[in-house]
């Protein structure tokens, strides 16, 4: 039987950065599912684009090898001809939306196929039924949750009846329950005969995906981190303190995002904040960072007498691109710091595995590297009490997540408070203490081990505790 999708030693090299990916060879038959896995920076996204014909149609660079869809070489097809055969689901559900309503989003691809009106109508109705979208049709896709957006993106592609579906880390922005739901939708698609190619590093979610064939991506990541970070090397330790949050309330208009929260933190703790998207995680962090007007009190009580005011916590923002604009990584880290602590800098750079990038232009770093850079920026800035991190694991593979956790632990051991918000339960499970939050408020605030055993709390938070995470 002829494969639907056939790739032979496909590799690609970017012209500017000279980063290269591949080679990858695979063949995919009707109803089959493949998983291409490997560390971040190994070129998964690039190869996914090669399979979907976005490379070479949208990218400059050197593509070797060939991809055939059916019996046609993608190099010889027009991009809309490829779109008819191969659907592509992107990593970030919010940014791949191209129209202003759910209805238009579903129609977009169908219109481009040039189908007759009746055919469009039929396919539209089918997909609305299948994905239970009828109550959403007039809504702006931006009012949907991340999980719903990713579902919509899938629906919009399925409506086009592609024979192959290529998925580029579709789970990385989703919380555990949304990820689980999305996987179930894909299982249904597979049963209906669609062939799938996953490029994903959140492997545990795909553990029980029926008939999934695994293809390891040959390239070993060439930025192996230093194995150990020691607290001894760190220049500075802080004295004991505690931060008291009392009656913290934040409202947008009439809607209360946070309602009368009471939390106490101690210096030296590593605390995770877990909850669904929209549960107020970011708002809580912003309040602690002093970026968000709020009612209630947040104050530090330290061992020194004068410390009874607002805490000094530096925030590491979710999207590192909101900060980067300097010519080199070094200048970026040291920007606007009056007298930088050289000792700290020397410690931080290898600890964050940024040594060889000091003279690189920040915009040319990979997503993971940029996140580490943002962390370096926050840590270099004078802060008394610690750091806050918003979704620090996005775009990081397992190895870098381990590195990150190791670093955060080190920082907390020096006496700082480290408080991070995440939807990644695996990452949350690495903290000493976890706070589970939902729209209704704090559901549980206990040592991580206890929370992982508390099934009831997870249910209340509306989150699925994946079975492979155990205390």
């Amino acid at each position: 039987m002829k494969p639907l999708l056939y790739a032979e030693k496909v590799s690609f090299t970017y012209p500017q950065t000279q980063r290269s990916s591949g080679p990858l060879s695979l063949s995919l038959h009707q109803g089959e599912s493949l998983l291409v896995y490997g560390p971040s920076g190994g070129g998964k996204s690039t190869l996914a684009r090669c399979l979907a014909g976005l490379i070479p149609h949208l990218y400059h660079g050197q593509m070797n090898g060939d991809v055939w869809i059916g019996d046609r070489n993608t190099k010889e097809m027009q991009s809309w001809e490829i779109a008819r055969e191969a659907g592509f689901v992107f990593q970030n559900p919010a940014t791949q939306i191209v129209t202003s309503s759910v209805e238009d989003e579903l129609l977009f691809g169908l219109e481009n196929l040039g189908l007759p009106r009746e055919e469009i109508k039929t396919r539209f109705d089918n997909v609305v039924d299948q994905f239970h979208l009828s109550s959403f049709l007039k809504r702006s896709p931006f009012t949907l949750s991340g999980g719903e957006q990713q579902k919509l993106s899938l629906a919009a592609i399925i409506a086009m009846h592609p024979s192959v579906l290529i998925l580029d880390e579709p789970l990385s922005m989703l919380d555990s329950s949304a990820a689980d739901e999305f996987i179930n939708l894909l299982k249904e698609q597979q049963q209906e005969g669609t062939s799938l190619v996953f490029f994903e590093h959140r492997l545990p979610y795909l553990q029980d995906f029926p008939g999934l064939k695994r293809i390891p991506l040959g390239i070993a990541s060439n930025d192996q981190p230093k194995s150990q970070i020691t607290t001894a090397a760190h220049p500075k330790k802080v004295g004991a303190f505690s931060i008291h949050v009392q009656g913290l309330t934040v409202s947008f208009g009439k809607k209360k995002i946070l309602d009368e929260l009471n939390i106490e933190f101690e210096g030296g703790q590593l605390v995770a904040l877990a909850g669904k998207n929209g549960s107020g995680k970011t708002t809580l962090l912003r309040s602690l960072a002093g970026l968000q007007p709020f009612e209630g009190t947040i104050r530090v009580i330290g061992n020194r007498q004068d410390e009874s005011d607002f805490p000094q916590l530096n925030m590491v923002f979710q999207n590192p691109d909101t900060q980067l604009f300097n010519p080199t990584v070094r200048e970026e880290i040291l920007y606007k710091i009056q007298s930088p602590n050289q000792e700290l800098y020397e410690w931080l750079i290898p600890a964050l595995n940024l040594e060889k990038y000091q003279d690189t232009q920040p915009l040319l770093l990979s997503e993971g590297e940029k996140r580490r850079l943002a962390l370096a920026i926050a840590l270099m800035h004078p802060h008394k009490h610690g750091i806050l991190l918003d979704e620090p694991s996005l775009g990081q593979d397992q190895m870098h997540k381990d590195l990150l956790i190791q670093l955060l632990k080190t920082i907390s051991q020096m006496g700082y408070l480290v408080f991070y918000a995440t939807h990644d339960i695996e990452l949350a499970a690495k903290a000493d203490r976890m706070i589970l939050i939902s729209e209704k408020g704090i559901i549980a605030d206990e040592p991580t081990r206890n929370i992982l055993l508390n099934k009831n709390a997870w249910q209340q938070a509306g989150l699925l505790l994946p079975h492979w995470i155990s205390p």
Binding site: Y14, Q16, H60, L363
Partner: protein, 181 residues
């Protein structure tokens, strides 16, 4: 198949830059009560747009799309028509200025292009006044003062655009861009 004038990427970049201008105008308020101060970000972005998409018509396109948006959102003081035309005029003015002046990575060029582009908006407001017989916003302020303020903010915006381009270049933005069609 016939090649489109703007590639899909260029079209979408210009579209998002147009929206970026309007978003800045909505989000950002300088504490200065002088006509035309929103021109700082406006001119900066439009000049960057013209450099990023190196094709004739880029600045005009940004002007038109942001003009339509501003009209829909009810921005501007003298109604939809005036708003639309003045945004469009900025686009065309900048376009023509850059056609004459060349690459806005030169800060003098960027500043002058900013002045000319922003002056085009002033001309529209002024012509709008002349058609109705009214000196419009210049009643209270005086024509010369209004003109100077437009020139200053246009120039500052152009300068910011030029500085932004230089910083983008140093930070590796154009290398990022060069990989995309």
């Amino acid at each position: 198949m016939k090649k489109k004038y703007f590639s899909t990427f260029q079209l979408i970049i210009l579209t998002l830059f147009s929206a970026l201008i309007v978003a800045a105008k909505i989000a950002l308020r300088l504490p200065i009560q002088l006509p035309g101060h929103s021109g700082i970000f406006w001119m900066a972005i439009i000049i960057v747009a013209a450099r990023v998409v190196l094709k004739k018509g880029a600045a005009t396109f940004v002007g038109i799309v942001s003009g339509i948006m501003a009209a829909f959102l009810g921005l501007g003081d003298f109604g939809y028509l005036d708003t639309f035309i003045s945004y469009t005029a900025i686009g065309i003015g900048t376009e023509l200025a850059l056609l004459l002046l060349g690459n806005p990575e030169n800060l003098v060029v960027a500043t002058l292009a900013g002045i000319i582009g922003h002056f085009a908006k002033f001309l529209v407001k002024w012509a709008f006044g002349a058609i109705t017989g009214a000196p419009l916003g210049f009643v209270a302020l005086g024509l010369a003062k209004a003109m100077i303020s437009y020139i200053v903010f246009g120039g500052l915006g152009g300068l910011l655009g030029g500085l932004t381009l230089l910083a983008l270049k140093k930070a590796g933005f154009f290398a990022y861009l060069a990989e995309k069609k």
